[in-house]
Symmetry: C2
Subunit: 452 residues, 2 copies
Amino acid sequence: MTRFVAPGQCGNPVFLIFHLLPFCHAKRMPHITAEIISIGDEMITGARLDTNTQWLSQRLGELGVDVQFHSTVGDTLSHNTDVFRIAARRADIVVATGGLGPTRDDLTREAIAESLGLPLQLHEPSLEFIRSMFQRRGREMPERNSCQAMFPLGATPIHNPQGTAPGIDIIAPREDGTQSRIFALPGVPAEMKTMFDETVAAAVLASNGQRQHIAHHIMKFFGIGESDMEQRLGDMIARDRQPRVGITVSAATISLRIVATGDSPEECESAIAKTRAEILDQAGEFYFGDGETFEQHHAVIRHLNKIGQRLLLVELGRAAPLGDRFAAVSDEPGFTADVPAFVGGISLADVEDLRQWTGMPQDASAESCLTALQKRLSADWVLLVDEYPSLHRTSDHPLPGSDVTFTVAAPDGTFPSQTQHLGAHPSILHARVAKAGLFWLRKCFAAATSGV
Amino acid sequence: MTRFVAPGQCGNPVFLIFHLLPFCHAKRMPHITAEIISIGDEMITGARLDTNTQWLSQRLGELGVDVQFHSTVGDTLSHNTDVFRIAARRADIVVATGGLGPTRDDLTREAIAESLGLPLQLHEPSLEFIRSMFQRRGREMPERNSCQAMFPLGATPIHNPQGTAPGIDIIAPREDGTQSRIFALPGVPAEMKTMFDETVAAAVLASNGQRQHIAHHIMKFFGIGESDMEQRLGDMIARDRQPRVGITVSAATISLRIVATGDSPEECESAIAKTRAEILDQAGEFYFGDGETFEQHHAVIRHLNKIGQRLLLVELGRAAPLGDRFAAVSDEPGFTADVPAFVGGISLADVEDLRQWTGMPQDASAESCLTALQKRLSADWVLLVDEYPSLHRTSDHPLPGSDVTFTVAAPDGTFPSQTQHLGAHPSILHARVAKAGLFWLRKCFAAATSGV
């Protein structure tokens, strides 16, 4: 969960100290400003949605950098040259993505060189590396790929462990004696992210006069609102705190991202551990796990694997989002067990259909249907969501809230149940209902474990 | 499905003819260039992903406009002023979103005025309209909302039927005698899209010397690849064709967007109908419906409603994406019927679990399990997907393809079945398998209907 980044991995020690900039006037503004450039016809025409820029904005913000501009251009040399020239004039750090491939459309190398008035030069070690990438795949390097080893004079290549396109790290001097620093990375998100984390982040920190090691850690919470969380955290979310703590919310799940910088990985790790413990003190009851992609259904499967029990889902109404998630997670590395914790899921319209499904008489209770299923399918737990609301029942916008009841059939023969009034924007309402159901199931797990 | 846009809806006749621009040199380039500006701290910090710009890029492209730059800035006046100044210098049309709200963070009005050296002036009819919006909601207009009726001198307000923020339409003259035209719209996507479709699109067409009515129509296809589709369409997808036909692909579903311009809505409609018929001639066997959000599961439910029959889903393996989609669609306006066409769905690990579920002996065939379910739940059709592949079984990237078998239990007691070798990027593999299953089900529907 904790990623470390060591500086200078491509042999480029980062000791550059930036000049203080005239437009860094506000008191709490970070001292370093940035512009992000995204390059490609697929972006400028709207054929593809650019997500690289959002990711880079978040990461640069965590490093204390003030991102002020995003620019996007297509594969046209003059437009690219213009955009690099403007960016180097107004931002201390420029991070560009795209245009580093081997085809004639890939113009970032030329655009940077032209905007700085520099020639392109072959970098032999990069050419060797690209050739070896092809050799490992049992192929000969096509001649056109050699252009990927061309760099504007004075640039430092940025190592790309996953692909044939090295990145470019180069200083852009300004007429007034100050300077900007340009980092150009490939547009492929996986390559871009690795190169940013492994090389660019440390260089940016050094530019910012900060210590050169950085580590991240993400904690996940459900059942608490954003403003309530902010209140509980108090000074922990101050922008100038070390480590920084950032909040993001996605469909009612809160992520806290802890970012620590220090002189060594150990220093970062111990700072993160201390902040993590402080956060658990304040909001531990809503915490369910760590890591960007860790969700409540992961926590449920992990718990079931630990205690050797199995879960069946029954989703009624106008949605069934949980079945797909549990089917997929029961297969992820670290979440599998000899006996699968997820038995399966049923999606039906209402309790009447559930009676027909289980072969129960018309006056049978929902609970007796759950017991029948529990026995027939050797499930220890059943979670019944009754029911997912319609997104179309009125023309109101946003939708009014709905009462949704979550009933759990527990291994001890009890049926702990809770009714909640839930409302949200239609695009996240079903996800929110599903998550509230899992929150109730986890409470039932806790009660069973503690013997309450 | 077909949207019409009439010009001049906010009393702003659009007769502006643009000067030919020096950098429009390439032969097949459209003559009008554009820049899109997105404004807001939530975008520049990466807290929110900007989707407005992608949507606008696609719409402007359809109007024959060459989008060359996207720019994003936060809520800082000097940055906004800079960005508008640069955009008006290099693009014929500038479309901005965001910064038109009533708070102190909303700076688009000031930024445009300042970039053009113009004062802000109160527009009384807009103030009246904003006041009436509040009255209709039974509230008094807060004083701060009056700033939303302030416009740079000479601007034309753009009518916003859904919100309190009118848009801004203003000419930006350049030193060389040419000019740019700026349209500023709110950042709320629903308001922005309506205002673009109802007002800006017609103004852009007029600027481009084209006829002032425009209509769109979207056709959806599955089972054919993008390049095969392009080949079948031939000259229909040429950029200078009228109506234009654009292709986009999303998780193996192809959308063809027909965009017609003309002197009247009727002229547009008849041009679209003609092109639509030509497309059906070339690729009709893969067509399943019309409209941006129409998917194969809509086509399945519509067909079942028409013939008064019911479907049950059985999804095995490491995913169950169809249950949620069918549960949700069975409730959409136009897809409901007295007897619900979607019985429900089951998600289980494998055929062995299906036997246990249906209470069949260990040597029972999958088909006999389907028949048992068909009877017990009064389903006419059952679709069995066996099985969704794991996304985690190897470290290969991309994943190798998998054999997936689709078995249909038909009302006549037969079990038409097909095995396909399916591969795709992990992010779309399960969706692709699900769609291939629905394609097979629709083939079985067709065979049953035609008596084959």
